[in-house]
C-alpha cells in the first residue's frame, strides 16, 4: 500500500525569459533557446572549456534525466514546465539587470535589515563583483600556507582535477532523482572547498568571500571535501531576501567528511520571488566523524529541502537543526534525512517550523537504521507553531528500523502561541507584536544559537519582519 502524500496548491511560478539578452555568439543562446538537449550540454561544456571527463559526466547525467519522471510526492510541481526554462547563460550576461529593476519592496526589506548597498546589489544579482578585498586577500595567503582550497568550482575542476574528479556527484548521483540528473547535465558555477588533513579552519567560511562570487545561481554546485581530522564551518547564503530572476533552482551540495573530521554547513535562505527552490544536499560521513546541518528557510513560493546525512563509518554522528517559516502563500516543505549504515552511529534532529497567514509548513523526515547499524541511536524533535487558524502544519516522519539494537526516539508537538505568555510580556510593556515576535524567536533559539552572531541577529530580524508582515 503505497503512501499517498497530498499535493498542495500554490500560486503561479513564471519564467522570466524576457530578461535574457541575446548573445552574440552561436545561435544556441538566441533568446528563444529553451529546453534541454545534448547540443546545449555540449555547448555549456565547451564554453567553459571543460576537460573531457566532465563533459562525459554531463552527458551521462542527461541520459538519466530523460528516463526519470518528476517526483510523485511533495508539493505540486505540475506548473513547472521544464521545457520552457533557459538552462544556461554566461555569468556576465546576468549583469543586464539593473538596480532599478529590483522591486521596491525588496529594496525596503534590505533597508530594514540594515544591509549595506554593495551587499544589497549582490543579493539582487546586480553587483558585478563583490570583493571584501582586505579580508579575502589575507585569507588567501593563509589558505595557501595551510593547503586549503576555496575556489570557484569552474576553476577548481581544472586546477585541482585530481581532487574534484573522484568526488564530483558521488554523494548526489544523477540517478538519485530527476533534479539531480538535471543538475548533473547543466550545472554551472559553484564552490569548491578542500580542507587538508588535520587542518582546523576557525573562521566560518562564507560564500561571498570568494572573488567573482555572484550569489546563488540556478544550478550551482558546491563540493566540499574535509580530510581526516580536519575541521571547518561553511556558510551559504544570507537571511536577507534573495531576488532571483530564475524560477527554478536545482542546485546541489555534496560534502565528504573523512574519518574523525568535523564539519558544519549553515545556510539561511530566503527567496523573495515565485521560485521553486529544489536543492539537494547530502553529506557522507566516515568513521568517528561529525556533520552538522544548520538551516533556516524563509520566503519563496515552494521550497523542498531535505539535507541528508549518510553515516557510513562506525561511530559517525550528525546533527540537523532547522527552522522553517511559512508565511502567506508559502509552502516550506523541508526536513532531514539520516541514514545509519554503520555501528554506533548517532543522529540528532531538531526542527522548528512556524506557519502564519495561511502559510503551510511541512516537515518531511526519514531516519533509517540499516541492518549493519548495531547500537545506533537516533533522536528527533519537531515542533510546529501554527500562529493562526488559516495556517497549517504537517509532520511526516518516516522511520525505518532494520536492526533490533537501535535506540530511537521521536517526539513532535504542534500548537499556537500561549496566551498567558503573551499577556505576561505585554504586562511588562511590550506590544502584542513585539511579544509574539519575542516568543517566536525564543521558540527557534536552539537553532539560532548555533549560527555565528551576525547571522543569528539577521535570522531574528527576519522573524520580526515576518511577524510584522501581515496580509491586509
Amino acid at each position: 500500500m503505497p503512501i499517498k502524500l497530498e499535493k498542495s496548491n500554490q500560486s503561479t511560478a513564471g519564467t522570466h525569459d524576457s530578461m535574457w539578452d541575446s548573445y552574440n555568439s552561436a545561435d544556441y543562446m538566441a533568446q528563444t533557446r529553451r529546453g534541454l538537449d545534448e547540443e546545449l550540454v555540449r555547448f555549456i561544456s565547451q564554453e567553459k572549456q571543460e576537460p573531457d571527463w566532465m563533459l562525459e559526466k554531463r552527458l551521462a547525467a542527461l541520459k538519466i534525466y530523460h528516463t526519470l519522471p518528476l517526483p510523485d510526492w511533495g508539493p505540486d510541481l505540475s506548473r513547472l514546465d521544464l521545457d520552457k526554462i533557459t538552462y544556461y547563460a554566461r555569468a556576465t550576461d546576468k549583469q543586464s539587470q539593473t538596480w532599478d529593476d529590483v522591486p521596491s519592496d525588496i529594496k525596503a526589506t534590505f533597508n530594514k535589515l540594515g544591509i549595506p548597498q554593495a551587499e544589497q546589489e549582490l543579493l539582487a544579482g546586480v553587483g558585478a563583483q563583490y570583493e571584501s578585498t582586505v579580508i579575502y586577500h589575507s585569507l588567501k595567503e593563509q589558505f595557501k600556507a595551510q593547503g586549503v582550497v576555496f575556489e570557484d568550482l569552474d576553476v577548481a575542476l581544472k586546477s585541482h582535477a585530481e581532487l574534484v574528479r573522484p568526488y564530483f556527484m558521488r554523494a548526489v548521483p544523477p540517478s538519485l532523482h530527476k533534479f539531480a540528473a538535471l543538475h548533473g547535465a547543466v550545472w554551472s558555477g559553484g564552490t569548491f572547498l578542500y580542507i587538508p588533513r588535520g587542518v582546523k579552519v576557525d573562521l566560518p567560511l562564507q560564500a561571498y568571500f570568494r572573488m567573482n562570487a555572484k550569489g546563488m545561481g540556478q544550478f550551482e554546485h558546491t563540493l566540499i571535501i574535509v580530510e581526516e581530522e580536519a575541521q571547518a564551518h561553511y556558510i551559504e547564503g544570507c537571511s536577507a531576501p534573495r531576488y532571483g530572476i530564475d524560477s527554478l533552482h536545482a542546485g546541489c551540495v555534496e560534502i565528504f567528511v573523512a574519518a574523525r573530521a568535523r564539519f558544519r554547513y549553515s545556510s539561511v535562505e530566503s527567496w523573495s520571488k515565485d521560485a521553486y527552490n529544489l536543492n539537494t544536499k547530502r553529506a557522507i560521513v566516515q568513521a568517528e566523524a561529525h556533520m552538522e546541518w544548520v538551516g533556516g528557510n524563509f520566503g519563496s513560493n515552494v521550497t523542498m529541502l531535505y539535507p541528508c546525512s549518510v553515516l557510513a563509518g562506525a561511530g559517525a554522528t550528525a546533527d540537523h537543526l532547522g527552522v522553517a517559516f511559512a508565511n502567506h502563500g508559502q509552502i516550506q516543505d523541508t526536513g532531514a534525512k539520516v541514514i545509519h549504515l554503520a555501528a554506533n552511529t548517532s543522529s540528532n534532529i531538531v526542527m522548528k517550523s512556524i506557519s502564519k497567514d495561511g502559510g503551510k509548513a511541512i516537515y518531511r523526515g526519514l531516519v533509517e537504521i540499516s541492518p549493519a547499524a548495531e547500537n545506533a541511536a537516533a533522536n528527533i524533535k519537531c515542533d510546529a507553531l501554527i500562529l493562526d487558524s488559516r495556517s497549517s502544519s504537517d509532520t511526516i516522519p518516516l522511520i525505518k528500523i532494520k536492526n533490533p539494537t537501535a535506540v530511537l526516539a521521536h517526539e513532535a508537538t504542534a500548537g499556537k502561541l500561549n496566551e498567558d505568555d503573551i499577556f505576561y510580556l505585554r504586562s511588562r510593556g511590550l506590544s502584542e507584536g513585539a511579544a509574539s515576535a519575542m516568543i517566536v524567536n525564543g521558540f527557534i533559539e536552539p537553532i539560532v544559537k548555533e549560527l555565528p552572531l551576525e547571522y543569528a541577529v539577521e535570522m531574528n530580524r527576519m522573524v520580526e519582519l515576518e511577524m510584522e508582515n501581515s496580509v491586509g
Binding site: M1, I3, P371, A384, I386, L387, D388, S389, R390, S391, S392, S393, D394, T395, I396, P397, L398, I399, K400, I401, K402, N403, P404, T405, A406, V407, L408, A409, H410, E411, A412, T413, A414, G415, K416
Partner: protein
C-alpha cells in the same frame, strides 16, 4: 454493557444514541476459504460509550485485507482494542472520524513472526471542535517478519480545541525483523494540542543480565517483556473472558514461532 458480535457479512453497523455497547469484530469467526476483503462502517450515535475489540487472529487465512471506517458521534466515547496476530500477509486500514466532543482511546497491539507481513494504516480525522484522542501502537516483530505502519492524525480547520496524541513503540526481537513506522500529523487548526512520539524498545544488556541472574533464559526474559506489554494493552477491557482470550493468543504466538514454518 450490551455485547454485540459483528457478523462477517455486515457492511454497516449503526448504534443508536446513548448506548453502552461492547462491539466484537472478527471474533470467533470460522476462517473463510477465500481471503477476506471487507469494508465495514460503524456509526456510533451521540453520547454512546463503546468498547470495540478487533482481533485478527493467527488462524486467519494467509491474505487478509480489511478496512473499517468508524464514525464517532458527538460526545461519544470509544475505547478501541485492536490485536493483529495475522499469519501471512495482512493489510488493515482503520479510519476514524471524530465529531464534536468525541473521545477516542485507541490501542493497537501487533505481533508478527516468521515471514509474516503487516501493512497497516490508521487515519484519525478530527472534524469538529473539542474532541480528544489518545492513540497507542505497540508492535513486536520477530524472525524475519516485517511491518509497515502509517498513522495520520488529521485535524481539519474547524477542529479547534482538540487534544490528540499518538505514541508508537516498536520492538524488534530478531536481527532479520524489519519495521517502518510513520506517526504523521496534518494540522490545519491552531488552537490545538497535538503531539506524537515514536520509539524503539529493547531490553538493555544490563536489564537482560539482571533477569538472567534471577534464573531466566534470554527467551524467557523476552517473553516476560512481551507478556507485560500485552497485559498493559488489555488493561481496561470490560470483558474478562475476552481479556484472557487475547492474552492466550499472544502467548500462543510466542510458543508457536518455531512450528510456524511447518504450517501450510
Amino acid at each position: 454493557m450490551k455485547k454485540i458480535i459483528i457478523k462477517s457479512s455486515a457492511a454497516k453497523i449503526v448504534i443508536p444514541a446513548g448506548q453502552k455497547v461492547l462491539l466484537l469484530d472478527n471474533i470467533g469467526q470460522p476462517a473463510p476459504a477465500t481471503p477476506a476483503n471487507r469494508n465495514l462502517q460503524i456509526i456510533i450515535g451521540r453520547g454512546c460509550e463503546i468498547q470495540y475489540v478487533f482481533i485478527e487472529r493467527a488462524t486467519r487465512p494467509s491474505v487478509s485485507i480489511e478496512q473499517r471506517e468508524l464514525f464517532l458521534g458527538a460526545n461519544s466515547r470509544l475505547k478501541s482494542y485492536r490485536v493483529y496476530l495475522g499469519q501471512g500477509t495482512s493489510q488493515l486500514k482503520f479510519i476514524s472520524h471524530l465529531d464534536q466532543g468525541a473521545e477516542l482511546d485507541s490501542r493497537v497491539f501487533f505481533y508478527q513472526s516468521g515471514t509474516e507481513i503487516l501493512t497497516a494504516e490508521d487515519n484519525y480525522i478530527f472534524e469538529a471542535p473539542d474532541s480528544r484522542g489518545r492513540f497507542n501502537v505497540t508492535g513486536l516483530l520477530s524472525g524475519a517478519a516485517s511491518a509497515q505502519y502509517y498513522s495520520d492524525i488529521i485535524i481539519t480547520p474547524v477542529a479547534q480545541k482538540t487534544d490528540s496524541r499518538i505514541d508508537m513503540k516498536l520492538y524488534l526481537l530478531d536481527p532479520r525483523a524489519r519495521g517502518v513506522i510513520l506517526p504523521g500529523l496534518k494540522i490545519a487548526a491552531n488552537e490545538v494540542k497535538a503531539g506524537h512520539g515514536a520509539s524503539t524498545f529493547q531490553l538493555s544488556p544490563d536489564d537482560l543480565f539482571y533477569l538472567q541472574a534471577r534464573g531466566l533464559s534470554k527467551e524467557q526474559a523476552k517473553n516476560l517483556v512481551i507478556n507485560s506489554l500485552a497485559q498493559r494493552f488489555v488493561d481496561g477491557l470490560v470483558d474478562q473472558e475476552l481479556k484472557k482470550d487475547i492474552l492466550t493468543q499472544i502467548a500462543n504466538k510466542e510458543t508457536d514461532q518455531s512450528i510456524k514454518s511447518a504450517r501450510p
